[in-house]
């Protein structure tokens, strides 16, 4: 009996000790394609019931996204094309955490979502609305640490946009000024724990990407800045490094290379060589060593990925997963059903990814 009690008490002790917290917030519209509240602050892990009351003269929805994913969700919504209205202009992707239906003028709908600590955009994904009609939900225990409203890059403020592009220089975090390209191995969101964040030079804050050293592949890319390590560096190192900017590309597939036709081993990460500060990654699979150098497109959002292969008699196939709004251009061969078969003997290959 006492043993049973012990087991029960052990089980109980592993349950979260804090009580479920409920938060109810009503949000409505204001003139000029805006939500009336642009910044909501709640406790982490509370159950948020968000009521959306549409007082505007046109239809809207309200979509809560994963951190830094507003633009990507907006782009996927746009890519729905004429399928959009049937699904309330909400794309079916992981970045969408919760959403309302299309809310006609004068109507009301609500959503329920539980958010761990973080900054979660909310946005109307109606075509054309997403770039102006949005806001942010902060799930935080430390509301005092939030930036002043006027400096908050997560909420719309037309006066600030021109200025913001000059503000992506890192504060003095090191005994030197950070120079792009730059590499940080750190804990990044939406990636395995062996993540490598790379910031690339460019206009308007440049572009950045995350390479997963555990899986040997590009995971996602964003524009408008690099990273904020403040919370990761503070304390013991549990908290994730934050993305500065907007994610425009996620690779929702897997390892991009198939070598030969047999069993594919797990790729093995070998490190990187800095080439003019750009990391050239090295990894091997099925006896072939692959080097990958990623550079920004010279104009616009996009990446140029240059691969080099060690000599092999095995067939090499690139496997991609289509991402709406993203164009892939192989330097050799053709993209068919998401695959590019490289001609035998190919030693170098470039894949241009553009938005």
């Amino acid at each position: 009996m006492s043993k049973l009690l012990l087991i029960v008490s052990l089980l109980l002790s592993t349950l979260p000790t804090h009580a479920q917290r409920d938060t109810l917030i009503t949000i409505t519209t204001s003139a000029g394609l805006q939500f009336d509240q642009k910044r909501l602050v709640i406790k982490p892990n509370s159950r948020l019931r968000l009521i959306f009351r549409n007082k505007d003269d046109m239809a809207h929805n309200l979509v809560v996204t994963r951190p830094n994913s507003r633009l990507r969700v907006v782009e996927f919504a746009l890519a729905l094309g004429n399928k959009g209205p049937a699904q309330h202009h909400v794309p079916i992707i992981d970045d969408v955490l919760a959403h309302t239906v299309s809310v006609e003028p004068g109507n009301i709908d609500s959503l329920v979502v539980t958010l761990p600590e973080g900054a979660y955009p909310f946005v109307c994904t109606y075509p054309g609305h997403g770039s102006v009609m949005y806001g942010i939900i902060y799930a935080t225990n430390e509301p005092k640490r939030l930036p002043p409203l006027n400096d908050d890059l997560n909420i719309p403020n037309p006066d600030r946009i021109a200025e913001a592009s000059h503000q992506h220089h890192q504060p003095a975090n090191h005994p030197y000024a950070l120079t792009l390209p730059a590499v940080y191995r750190t804990f990044m969101p939406d990636c395995g724990p062996a993540a490598i964040a790379v910031g690339l030079p460019g206009s308007e804050g440049g572009q950045s990407y995350v390479f997963d050293a555990g899986q040997c592949r590009l995971r996602y890319a964003w524009s408008g800045g690099f990273v904020d390590n403040a919370e990761q560096w503070d304390g013991k190192g549990q908290r994730l490094t934050k993305i500065v900017g907007e994610i425009y590309y996620r690779d929702t597939g897997g390892f991009p290379w198939k070598i030969g036709s047999g069993t594919q081993q797990a790729p093995q990460f070998k490190g990187y060589q800095l080439v003019n500060r750009y990391p050239e990654f090295r990894y091997s699979i099925n006896g072939v060593e692959i080097r990958e150098l990623i550079k920004p497109l010279s104009t616009g959002r996009g990446l140029v990925r240059t691969f080099a292969f060690s000599p092999t008699k095995q067939a090499i196939t690139l496997i991609t997963t289509a991402q709406p709004g993203i164009r892939l251009r192989p330097s050799i061969g053709q993209l068919k059903n998401g695959e590019v078969r490289l001609p035998a003997g190919t030693r170098q290959f470039t894949l241009t990814m553009s938005k």
């Binding site: 005994p175 940080y184 750190t186 724990p193 062996a194 050293a213 013991k236 070998k270």
Partner: protein, 492 residues
């Protein structure tokens, strides 16, 4: 006025004798903008020092010019470095052991080569990676911290996940957490020994034997120094899930008794709150006397105490055991005190000891200090060795002891106790007993005192508080009064 004049006159005649008369500590300025949470220190063959820091920088310091230069950047919480040559370093960071090479000679590493990443990561903050150290045969050792239930794990982990390793306060749900790993010269990473909780210090003694420190907590009643040998289990259970052939069970379901029978006990325990809270790196004094009289002894750092520990080894029937004694306790000079947070230790070619400090979200400090033996300052009066005898201990000192103080029974106060091996966090001192000294013998050179104690027992700590032993007719005072001997095995 007269009294103070008299006092200063007395002080001139009988200067107080402290460790600061023999050793000097200085603070090494670090470059502006550097948050000097020091993860590793190592000297290059050319005399420069490599240091790595929490925010991912690896920097080189020239002690002659006092100039710092950046060597590498962007590493994930690097916690150890060894220099291979003037252009090549091995650095351990959270995800891997990395070889940093300056291939073009411009002073900056351009090649970041993964030497090994064949271990798991759950994303839990406590999964630090420590090391590397290299033995005479070219094997490299690293150690992998367990995760803490102070936080969870990520949705995506690296390596195989095993829910049986997810239980308990400190856990090992991905491979080789709680292990010391050996990287052989042919590049294979072997799980070498398990049962560790937070093995933040690795080092070799003068005989080349591998030692590892571990931190008080669950299953560690107090912090410890282990002699690590292949295949052995050192007591913290969770890492057993990754032991080849271990049954498919949560190790915490084994009885304490059976875990106790499986484990190899520590060589030397560091009594909590007296000696250590959180022991760090182990270094061998290989300076041949440049660092004072303790050549070939091991020094160990600690996060919370403004002292180092000095190890006094003993061996009984092949069982390594022995004592620890504080070194440079709460000392300092010219207004500079030794700080706490001494995470990393490295001897410079000139025989001085560099101290790399960190806090890393815990107690500690930031920065780098240097501890130097003052040439010509003589030899401080301190304990040199403590050896078990069939009925007590032989204490050997650095100097002949003044006979009257040496023969005074009240100068030797022993207590003995043990720490419980159990799942709970830490342990009180158990079964504390005063142990009377029944007789004293003094060697002819007056350096060795032989103490006879009543009823020695194994698997206990003998904590000795020394009184005011003196040397050189009272001019030399004893530097440290506390020494703790871990008695694993009695002499036959």
């Amino acid at each position: 006025m007269l009294a103070s004049l008299l006092l200063s006159a007395l002080l001139t005649v009988f200067p107080t004798d402290t460790i600061s008369d023999y050793y000097e500590v200085e603070t090494i300025p670090t470059p502006p903008g550097l948050v000097a949470e020091t993860g590793g220190l190592s000297f290059l063959p050319d005399g420069r020092m490599a240091a790595c820091f929490h925010r991912g920088e690896v920097m080189l310091y020239n002690p002659k010019t006092k100039i710092w230069k950046l060597f590498a950047e962007g590493l994930h919480d690097p916690l150890g470095v060894i220099a291979i040559n003037n252009r090549e370093l091995l650095v351990i960071q959270r995800p891997e052991l990395t070889r940093l090479t300056d291939t073009n000679g411009d002073g900056l590493a351009d090649k970041y080569e993964t030497v090994t990443d064949q271990f798991g990561m759950s994303g839990n903050y406590h999964e630090f990676a420590f090391g590397p150290v290299r033995d005479a045969k070219g094997n490299i050792y690293i150690s992998l911290n367990t995760a803490s239930n102070g936080a969870g794990i990520r949705d995506e982990v690296r390596g195989q996940y095993d829910a049986l390793g997810r239980q308990g306060r400190m856990y090992a749900c991905v491979p080789y957490r709680g292990w010391v790993m050996q990287l052989t010269p042919d590049g294979k990473l072997k799980p070498y020994a398990c049962g560790f909780r937070s093995p933040n210090g690795l080092g070799f003694d003068a005989q080349g034997r591998l030692f590892v420190t571990d931190n008080q907590g669950d299953w560690l009643g107090t912090s410890k120094l282990f002699h690590v040998e292949e295949g052995k289990f050192y007591g913290h259970p969770t890492s057993l899930v990754w032991r080849p052939g271990f049954p498919d069970v949560d190790p915490l379901t084994l009885s304490v008794k059976s875990l106790d029978s499986m484990r190899t006990v520590e060589s030397i325990a560091f009594p909590h709150e007296l000696m250590a809270h959180s022991p760090t790196q182990i270094v061998l004094d290989n300076t041949g006397g440049k660092f004072g009289p303790f050549a070939n002894q091991l020094f160990v750092g600690d996060m919370d105490f403004a002292h180092l520990l000095r190890i006094l080894p003993d061996e009984v029937d092949g069982q390594i055991q022995g004592a620890c004694v504080p070194f440079y306790s709460k000392a300092g000079s010219k207004g500079v005190a030794m700080r706490i947070g001494n995470n990393r230790l490295a001897f410079a070619p000139d025989g001085s000891l560099y101290l790399g400090q960190t806090d890393h979200g815990w107690l500690g400090a930031k920065g780098i200090q240097r501890l130097r033996y003052k040439a010509g300052s003589g030899v401080p009066l301190d304990i040199m060795a403590m050896k078990l005898t069939p009925n007590g201990f032989n204490l050997t000192f650095t100097q002949p002891i003044d006979e009257a103080t040496a023969r005074d029974l009240t100068n030797y106060n022993f207590r003995s106790y043990y720490y419980e091996y159990h799942r709970a966090y830490g342990s009180p001192q158990m079964d504390v007993q005063a142990v009377p000294v029944s007789s004293i013998q003094l060697s002819a050179d007056r350096k060795t005192v032989s103490l006879t104690l009543g009823g020695l027992k194994s698997n206990r700590i003998y904590e000795l508080t020394l009184g005011n032993l003196q040397a050189n007719n009272g001019q030399k005072k004893l530097m440290n009064h506390l020494v703790c001997y871990t008695l694993n095995r009695l002499m036959k």
